[in-house]
């Protein structure tokens, strides 16, 4: 009887250990599941947050250049449409032999500068952040509104940004 009890005790003891191991295994599965899920969530959100940050940076860069060029270095600005019916800005710069065109092509914002017989084209947005929309809105004789939609190519995140420019050295020609 005693022997049987001892044996039974031994069996129960080993069963207890197995139970604990089982419990630990379940815990590990649970924790790794939670971890995997949270990692996925963090990774996914992180990408969106990073895309948002990249869009904000690209917008600040493009806005700063447009602001400097149009607010101070332009003697006359004219709003027109390009061959595809998209908005463009045609500027006569304060350096009076220089003309500049701001336009959208292939989801990249370009500035074409014409100086006598020389023409130069510079992109003012990168390939990672596309400029989907570039809309100009006349807000007064010397005030211009610009609306841009920027898109992160990796995540597909789109943000619409707008700003107004006070043209210090020019007026908007019709």
């Amino acid at each position: 009887m005693f022997m049987a009890h001892k044996c039974c005790y031994r069996e129960r003891k080993s069963g207890t250990i197995l139970l604990e191991l089982n419990f630990l295994l379940m815990m590990i599965v649970f924790v790794s599941g939670v971890c995997c899920n949270s990692t996925h969530m963090i990774y996914k959100n992180c990408k969106m947050i990073l895309a948002d940050i990249e869009i904000a940076r690209a917008f600040r860069y493009t806005e700063s250049i447009l602001r400097r060029e149009l607010s101070y270095n332009t003697a006359q600005a004219r709003l027109s449409k390009d061959f595809n019916g998209r908005d463009q800005i045609v500027c006569q710069k304060t350096f009076n032999n220089v003309r500049a065109y701001w336009y959208l092509s292939g989801k990249i914002l370009y500035r074409k500068t014409i100086k006598e017989t020389t023409t130069g084209i510079n992109p003012f947005s990168g390939p990672e952040i596309q400029v989907v929309d570039f809309i100009t809105v006349p807000l007064g004789e010397a005030k211009l509104g610009i609306i841009m939609t920027l898109k992160d190519t990796e995540t597909g995140l789109e943000r619409r940004k707008s700003f107004t420019l006070l043209l210090s050295n020019s007026s908007l020609a019709s």
Binding site: I17, R67, Y72, A75, F95, N96, L166, N169
Partner: protein
């Protein structure tokens, strides 16, 4: 067995701990990036506010000037957002009455010394100067007598006409205007943008340079405009020293106010008005045509 279990437990907990540390590291990096981005966005926003305030004050000052004479002023505005930094705006007006030059500067400064400035200058020539140019557009005040140089088609008015060279101080102009004079290459490729350009050094424009655009060119020392150079725009040339213009130079719309001696080389062309205090020596074939448009008021661009 129990010892093994303890070891096993520790073995399992260690990777979990490592994973949590890695997770918190990633989270911290992410938070740091977001915080840095937020700070950059705030700074950008504050700077834009400074710029907009400065532009508004500049436009208001220029508009008010149409009705009344503007003077120095200081304003304390509210706060910038975000950050609640107080903003001070100062409007500084400097004048050179003998020339009719007014230099306007608007500074917007925060309590953290972030600053945005805009400048503009205007010349509305004084009545005394305009009266002097009423009879002749080529004046040499210190010349002993009035002389006609028929063969050069230039009428020079001397001291007998009562001409007096305007008593402007180039040093005071230098204190307001920036002294970063563009290089010859920049002048050739970009031209003048309508601003006031000043240099304290002796300057010699290279041969054959063509400069487009309008501007005020101020020199505290002697200058040389070399042969075959062309200035196509409206220029107001103020010189404290001598001005030597080479041969075949074309100044298509220029007002020259030279405190020293003016020398013009052969076959040069000047359209506008000239006043040289000490003397003017014109070479063979020089053509001077008077143009009163150069005496019209001149407004520079608003520059940052």
């Amino acid at each position: 067995m129990a010892e093994e279990l303890k070891r096993n437990k520790g073995f399992i907990l260690f990777p979990v701990l490592l994973f949590l540390i890695a997770c918190s590291g990633v989270a911290m990096t992410g938070l740091h990036t977001v915080a840095r981005e937020a700070a950059a966005a705030s700074e950008f926003l504050r700077y834009r506010q400074l710029e907009t305030i400065t532009q508004s004050f500049m436009q208001t000052a220029l508009y008010q000037e149409e009705q009344t004479e503007i003077t120095d002023a200081a304003y304390q505005l509210g706060f910038l957002h975000p950050g609640k930094e107080p903003v001070n705006v100062t409007v500084k007006v400097n004048r050179e009455p003998s020339l009719g030059l007014r230099f306007l500067q608007v500074d917007t400064v925060t309590s953290h010394d972030d600053k945005f400035s805009l400048r503009q200058c205007r010349i509305r020539f004084s009545d005394s100067l305009l009266q002097q140019f009423a009879n002749s557009l080529f004046i040499v005040p210190d010349a002993a007598v009035q002389k006609e140089q028929e063969e050069k088609d230039v009428s020079i008015t001397g001291n007998t006409g009562g001409a007096v060279f305007p008593d402007f101080s180039m040093e005071s102009i230098a204190n307001w205007a920036s002294t970063d004079f563009p290089s010859a290459l920049e002048l050739q490729s970009d031209g003048l943008s309508g601003w006031i350009y000043l240099t304290r050094e002796k300057l010699s424009f290279p041969k054959g340079i063509t400069v487009h655009g309008n501007g005020i060119l101020a020199f505290t020392d002697n200058i040389v405009i070399s042969d075959d150079s062309t200035f196509t725009g409206r220029i107001i040339l103020l010189a404290d020293g001598n001005v030597r213009i080479g041969s075949r130079v074309r100044l298509e719309k220029a007002l020259l106010l030279c405190r020293g001696k003016l020398t013009v080389g052969t076959d040069s062309f000047i359209n506008g008005a000239v006043m040289a205090q000490q003397d003017a020596v014109l070479g063979e074939g020089v053509t001077f045509t008077g143009d009163r448009e150069v005496l019209e008021p001149y407004n520079s661009i608003v520059s940052y």
